[in-house]
Symmetry: D2
Subunit: 359 residues, 4 copies
């Protein structure tokens, strides 16, 4: 069944494989009249690209986007916005040896169990490059949201057991370091850890925090289309995500009601706001106007160069050492993907909310 679309009103369909002609997104349902150009999208795509450092794959793709439809004289027309990025630096040969092998914790086995066929080159559709389409659409959603006063602060909060210290939080530093961490010391410690892991031919897990500011109260739905439920789906649809929290999340399961509850109070303008924000900006599935706080947990990159035991298509045991170009940690490049999925979901929720009341 079709599985490459997300969103109901602002609907995004992505396509493309790691080693095919290219990748892209078709954004359907974008309101007409939005100023949009390729640079808006390119800025987001550039955040997703691997750096020129030790922390990322050495695959070198310009990832230049081209808007093929839906924009006329610099403004959206209400028709589908088709955007494409071409693949140029495929080294498909690297994957010949993996043709029949099921790499550990990769989609090879489960994908083939489903479809009976698989493009083994670079993971095919299950590649990290699949997120290009998400980031294209996220750039568009995020631009429109920013015009409505909604903004994002997304960063890597932990790499392995190296956690950022909230006391040393420096928002301006996030996009200035290749690990997207807001704490200079944590960045340095994590950098060193990653170098060690690379030498050990290993990889490591990570976590990302996304804070959304300025979301008005009232987005979401009380039942299946809860705002946090749709965010959970959008975020969990990113490869390698294994856990997701909203607000204080996990720790609320150990708290008492008197500690966990967020009361309300009028602010200086007489508007109702939360006194505390354990809930992470969403109560009963609907935004409250407080900051939305999302924690996303990634497993380690499954492609590692050290020896692993696994099996091949003919059910032979195989000793595997994965060659190729791989990030040793997923969070830093995935941060903009998290932000993109949040933006897509929130803008869709914004549009879905337009008809909530009879007026």
């Amino acid at each position: 069944m079709a599985g490459s679309s997300i969103g109901d009103i602002f609907k995004v369909t992505t396509w493309g494989e790691s080693h095919g002609e290219g990748l892209g997104a078709v954004i359907d349902g974008c309101p007409a009249g939005v100023g949009l150009c390729e640079e808006d999208i390119q800025a987001y795509l550039d955040r997703r690209r691997p750096g020129k450092d030790a922390f990322a794959t050495s695959r070198s793709e310009a990832d230049k986007c081209r808007i093929l439809s839906g924009v006329f004289e610099g403004r959206t027309t209400g028709t589908p916005i088709s955007v494409m990025v071409e693949n140029n630096d495929q080294h498909s040969k690297d994957y010949d040896a993996l043709k029949d092998v099921y790499r550990p914790s990769h989609a090879d086995f489960s994908y083939e169990a489903k479809y009976g066929i698989r493009d083994h080159r670079g993971g095919g559709r299950s590649s990290g490059r699949e997120t290009i389409g998400r980031v294209i659409a996220g750039a568009v959603a995020s631009k429109i949201l920013s015009q409505k006063g909604i903004s994002f602060c997304t960063y890597v909060n932990s790499i392995g057991d190296v956690f950022c210290d909230p006391g040393y939080f420096e928002e301006g530093y996030i996009l200035k370091n290749p690990l997207c961490m807001p704490d200079r010391t944590a960045f340095q410690v994590a950098s060193k850890r990653i170098e060690e892991l690379r030498e050990q031919k290993d990889s490591v897990g990570s976590s990302v925090i996304c804070v959304v500011r300025g979301v008005p109260a009232g987005l979401g739905d009380p039942v299946f289309e809860k705002l946090d439920a749709n965010l959970a789906k959008a975020i969990f649809s990113i490869g390698a995500v294994k856990a997701f929290e909203v607000g204080d999340g996990f720790s609320l399961s150990m708290a008492k009601g008197s500690e966990a509850n967020d009361g309300f109070a009028p602010d200086e303008n007489g508007n109702i706001t939360q006194i505390t924000n354990h809930s992470g900006g969403i109560i009963g599935g609907i935004s409250t106007g407080a900051d939305i706080v999302l924690h996303v947990y990634f497993k380690p990159t499954p492609s590692i160069a050290s020896l692993q035991k696994t099996a091949d298509r003919s059910a032979n045991a195989v000793d595997l050492e994965i060659k190729g170009r791989h990030d040793p940690v997923i969070g830093p490049r995935a941060a903009v993907v998290v932000e993109s999925m949040a933006a897509i979901t929130l803008f869709d929720a914004y549009l879905k909310n337009l008809g909530a009341r009879n007026e």
Copy 2:
């Protein structure tokens, strides 16, 4: 926008408020020819009902279900299965004092911010009774899945800081204690804790684990319709859920690839299986055939009888003590709801997978 349906092929629509005429579900897309009777559904609903003990609300509802359509001579006909439960024991007067107050960590404020109107009696649609429709559909999905060799083991793993010990796991004990815990000692400690909290007019958080056995490899999709993404949405659409993990979840963010990776190996029949199961049965969004393991974290019941500070509709500060009948902990009654949402999602994924290959 419509938000009370879930599932694409096996589609469930629920309706009903806490203090209205009743609640129900319409299950559309259920295959024809499934043996089904009211007892199948009632057994599940009875697991959701409050016990006759200190751990649950004293609201007393028989919650007897009635199948109104879709079943003929004991078998489903392929048409919508409409099932209804009537409300009988509403004490709507209990809520008169809450008409204009925004209860802490309840949907009152956000719901009203969205719709401008709210049925304040018992939370209206944002009540825990809303889950009746989910459990009705879960019973149907789960019955069909069981015929395909797919079964569930769902239990409360923690209440506050009382955790079940895997070394004392006793599956047969789960449905024999009102807290649905698989560890007798943990049950006793947690019971005492809950009694203390009740005296303190407080409540507590909890967590639920749902293990699904027998799921064939190949369910799910590589991109937005990942099996774990749809499970995340389904589970996060349950009220009071604040975190969700698959497999080793959160802890994978702190692990190394060499620790986290699940290799494959042929079993005695020559079938490929995972050597370990850190992934929780889903890799790349698609089931692998290993047990699917879901961890769900609930916040404490927000309704507590101790004094809380909040605001009312006119932006006045209010000192609130909530009367009424409330569970002091959500997990025990929510376990069957978690299982229901997992069953609905898995059966829908099963049906969506039928056309994956051209045959």
Copy 3:
């Protein structure tokens, strides 16, 4: 696959069989704050009920509706509106003889080819009573549309070869005669024709016209979600419809462009309007502000009492005479169903249009 829902934002799910417990609709996505009571719906249902005359089935159902959810203190709350009508006057025994027979031009054979099972009593889900759910939802949509200045004029335009004469069109007469014709003479001729057919144990085809006034320009979409495409689906989903036209429809296929084109001109207020309306109020899939004109063509009632040749489940040839209570013509009772489907579609299009422009 689920097939009993229609609409994207204003989503209607219907359920129920001719001889089951009852029938109903769940309306999800209705904006909050709409004044609504059972009488609003009952008025529409009463238009669907058979008259006490010779032109309709003698099955006598009160068809009293009951609102089960979604309305609080006389106003919609934004949650699903569940409405139910109980079945009371089933004569299921009448259908025992038809259990294994495939009635000509009935769904018996095709339904069973699909599902392998069939509720033979009164056609089950393929009965005309299935339209009760449509009319329930149509009543709600139509009430909201009327508040926005959108109104309907729906009538039977032909019965067999008896056509209403536009020159004798009398709008006020439509609901005053059991055939819903706007032309007194045509009504009299058609009445006589129907009596003759009843004596001949035969039935006859008919057509319905639905004119929608006051639709603003701009509803619909340029590609797959064209307003006329969605109207075509909604109307063709009514049993027994075999043809559908918008505006001058069929005859435009024989016209020249210079005859068929609708130019535009400013009206006295400087607004742009169509000079002519061959297009029936929709151009390029989007409403123009002119009256929307729909023609719907129904086949004759397939249940006739005269002898017919057909087959049974065991592939035996059968000589069939259908007993039971059947309308000799479908149009008069279907007129309100056509209006309902048009109202549901238009209100959904209205809501979908809210986010068309970035504002």
Copy 4:
């Protein structure tokens, strides 16, 4: 709201404007393992292209398609199939004069009423070139259907008042004449008529018949997702369609039940088949196994070179003579579009039917 996708399981999303970079389709939900190459699609696109004759626009586009994703080593992989056609022969200058004018019976006015903005070059998204995406997807659907024994015969049945005579039906002639008519004489008369109209700077309406053979009994649904309802939507979503019939369609509204009913009988193999086929292969919304017969009626090409009265954006009356390159009749080039939409709808219905019975 998103409006450029059609289909639930086999889901097609199209994009592109007449004078943009190109046009394309993303086909999501195509089963894995289907042999597919660009030639399969090109053959269909070539049927859509204007001929080199007097009956079609002189715009000259090669319309060469390029498969960008979803196919690996000649077989589909289950991932989205992205196909693109570049625009090369745009004469956008031709449209400068039309920038502010609302052409009669074109989408200019209604589109702008909706979106407030419009790409006036060649109709933008409301151009006939939009159908390229439909034909791409139709080619894929039709190839898979043909492997299942389902085939199409699609032809122009009438141009203006020139109708093909069933007595002179010659199936092999359809693709041998530029008007796609199956009757040599009708082709000659119609050709002459079109030449006259061209001289008169006029255009003419037309109709297309699409017969689908080999459809198994059981596709479709009894309520809103009736097979004929989905076909009606798919066909009516093609620009310029104004009427649609299934089987004997319109004429059934004038028939008696005894004339219209299709009884059943066992064939020589003991299978149940219809004795007659007034129903056009669909009864109660579900296919019966008989040929599906669809009649589609097109209005005349609205772009004509003779003088027309209309208005511009500033509400001035305008005397308009449309320059540019336009087909004088729509049916001949639209025939393959009709076939494509039917194929997309039928293959989607085929896939939706896989889970109809519990097995």
